[in-house]
């Protein structure tokens, strides 16, 4: 039995009353999570924290004030049950087998044992559960909120990791610049269903698409090796899970059946990993059962080891890309091809050089790009393209910097 003496105080004004469920959210042999109205507390969300002996009805419930917004968030999987319970002050209520709430206590939330609450990130039902949850820990935890830059990074890192792996699994060559095919974007640009800011946590769900819904280009021509959508998705997520297992194991050789695959896996999981010197100290990755991801806590030390391992693999394979750094001015962006030309500043050579932006990076480049083209300022552009590309092949933009 839960010993609650040190984190509760009796509610003196309490008088026994019926705990009549109004809306039942979770039921297994009895309502276990439900709303009810209590005379002195109003509308509350009740959560069965300790069932009665031998499965008798009733038990001990946590109760928290609730409202329509919170309930809608619970139903849609935007809020975990734990977050709902920690949303406001809490009471502990004992309900007997007849459905009468006999006793109630105030709870000192600061002393509430964390292990009596639902696990973090757990939704009302498995259907609402994200396929993958990323949880970030950073050094300077502030009660005021989460650094905006971290939110942007966290939201983008996982789709970027998937993009690397999907391109490998589907054997899509080239630099990835320009507009990606819609079906490819549908695969990796997955939905974030929930963002919690108590410590930054983002839940993602896999697209629930059947092959026919991806469009003709996918099923008829683009994937000539005949892989179905489901197979591609399973393989990609498995590679991600293998990569995360490797990343947190500290072993040196990335998993994979070829060096190209090892590089793809290592590059993908490093998108998710905390940078060696950044503000994030660790990233927890939690995959849903059956997702092939598992549970991992990626620390900075893992990142360092993985970077060294990736470098070793890259040393073994011929260079895939050639890089360039170009100074000059940019006038305009070709919106159709997402290309632009860097022209030399007077007195600094005559060579022009064409670059192309990866569409998914367009948002991050767009403001800087607009500012530089309007002012015709000098910029430095770092780019790369596959080795052996023809002279007309544009370089893919890696960095776009003011001079």
């Amino acid at each position: 039995m839960i010993n609650h003496a040190h984190w509760t105080t009796p509610l003196k004004e309490w008088s026994p009353s019926r705990l009549e469920p109004l809306e039942v959210f979770y039921e297994f042999d009895q309502p276990m999570i439900f709303t009810t109205k209590l005379p002195s507390l109003g509308l509350v969300l009740a959560y069965l924290v300790e069932p009665a002996v031998d499965g008798e009805l009733g038990g001990r419930f946590l109760a928290v004030p609730t409202n329509a917004t919170m309930l809608a968030d619970l139903r849609r999987g935007r809020m975990s049950v734990r977050d709902a319970l920690l949303n406001s002050w809490l009471w502990l209520i004992d309900m007997d087998a007849s459905g009468t709430a006999r006793e109630a206590w105030h709870i000192d939330a600061e002393k509430l044992p964390g292990d009596i609450l639902p696990e973090p990130g757990v939704m009302l039902s498995a259907e609402l559960q994200p396929d993958l949850i990323l949880r970030y820990e950073w050094q300077e935890l502030s009660a005021d909120g989460v650094p905006a830059s971290l939110v942007a990074h966290a939201g983008g890192s996982f789709p970027q990791a998937l993009r690397v792996l999907y391109r490998h699994v589907l054997q899509i060559g080239g630099s990835g610049a320009g507009h990606p095919a819609n079906w490819l974007r549908q695969l990796y640009n997955i939905q974030a269903t929930r963002i919690a800011f108590s410590s930054l946590e983002i839940g993602f769900v896999r697209p629930k698409l059947r092959q026919g819904e991806l469009g003709l280009s996918y099923s008829d021509t683009d994937v000539e090796h005949g892989k179905g959508f489901q197979e591609v998705q399973e393989q990609t997520w498995k590679l991600l899970g293998d990569g995360l297992t490797w990343l947190t194991s500290g072993s040196t050789e990335p998993p994979g059946q070829s060096d190209q695959e090892r590089i793809a896996i290592a590059e993908a999981v490093l998108k998710i990993a905390p940078s060696v010197r950044g503000q994030v100290s660790s990233v927890s990755v939690r995959g849903a059962p059956g997702s092939g991801i598992g549970r991992h806590v990626v620390m900075r030390s893992h990142t360092q080891t993985a970077l060294e391992a990736l470098d070793e693999v890259r040393q073994r394979v011929p260079a895939e890309y050639e890089s360039v750094v170009k100074d000059g001015r940019v006038r305009e962006l070709d919106q159709d091809l997402l290309t632009f030309i860097v022209r030399p500043v007077a007195g600094h050579g005559t060579d022009e050089m064409r670059f192309q932006i990866v569409e998914d990076d367009l948002d991050s480049f767009d403001k800087a790009f607009s500012a530089f083209t309007v002012q015709s300022s000098r910029v430095t552009v770092v780019g790369r393209r596959p080795v052996g590309s023809g002279p007309q092949t544009p370089y893919t933009v890696v960095e776009f910097l003011p001079r």
């Binding site: 999570i33 069932p51 008798e56 087998a97 639902p118 059962p289 059956g290």
Partner: protein, 145 residues
């Protein structure tokens, strides 16, 4: 035919003994219930085959005011994800193991009784298949850390 440890299921089948109980006005298990097949899940604390965890409310002697037919059934889930979800949703209840049962068709009757958990299924064990026998039909599917 599979041998049921400690049960008299074989003799039941030979004699075609009915496992319909009369619940006042309605048959129990319900006429809409079916022979069980496929894989189902339940959870327990220790992952062992202790029959105490496989007793119906009627056998325990609780829920006397509940539906008398459901008191004779055990709750199962057909979706392993939902079983894992339950353990994570209620960690203070002390369950750590998802147990699975692969029905062969002769263990009684089942019926989908989904309420707020869509894969919820009620299992009315065959006559003579006691709690300890039921426990031996389950094996560990997963340990939820």
């Amino acid at each position: 035919m599979r041998t049921m440890v400690g049960s008299s299921l074989s003799s039941i089948e030979q004699t075609k003994a009915p496992h319909l109980w009369n619940n006042g006005r309605m048959a129990c298990p319900p006429e809409s219930s079916v022979d069980p097949s496929g894989r189902y899940y339940r959870w327990c604390a220790y992952g062992n085959q202790d029959g105490a965890h496989y007793r119906t409310f009627e056998e325990v002697g609780t829920r006397r005011d509940a539906d008398q037919c459901l008191r004779r059934a055990l709750s199962l889930l057909s979706d392993v994800r939902a079983a894992i979800q339950h353990i994570r949703l209620f960690p203070s209840h002390g369950y750590r193991f998802v147990m699975r049962i692969d029905f062969q068709g002769d263990e009684g009757k089942i019926k989908a009784t989904s309420g707020r958990v869509p894969s919820h299924t009620s299992w009315w064990p065959q006559d003579g298949l006691g709690p300890q026998d039921r426990a031996k039909l389950f094996s560990i599917e997963a340990e939820v850390p």
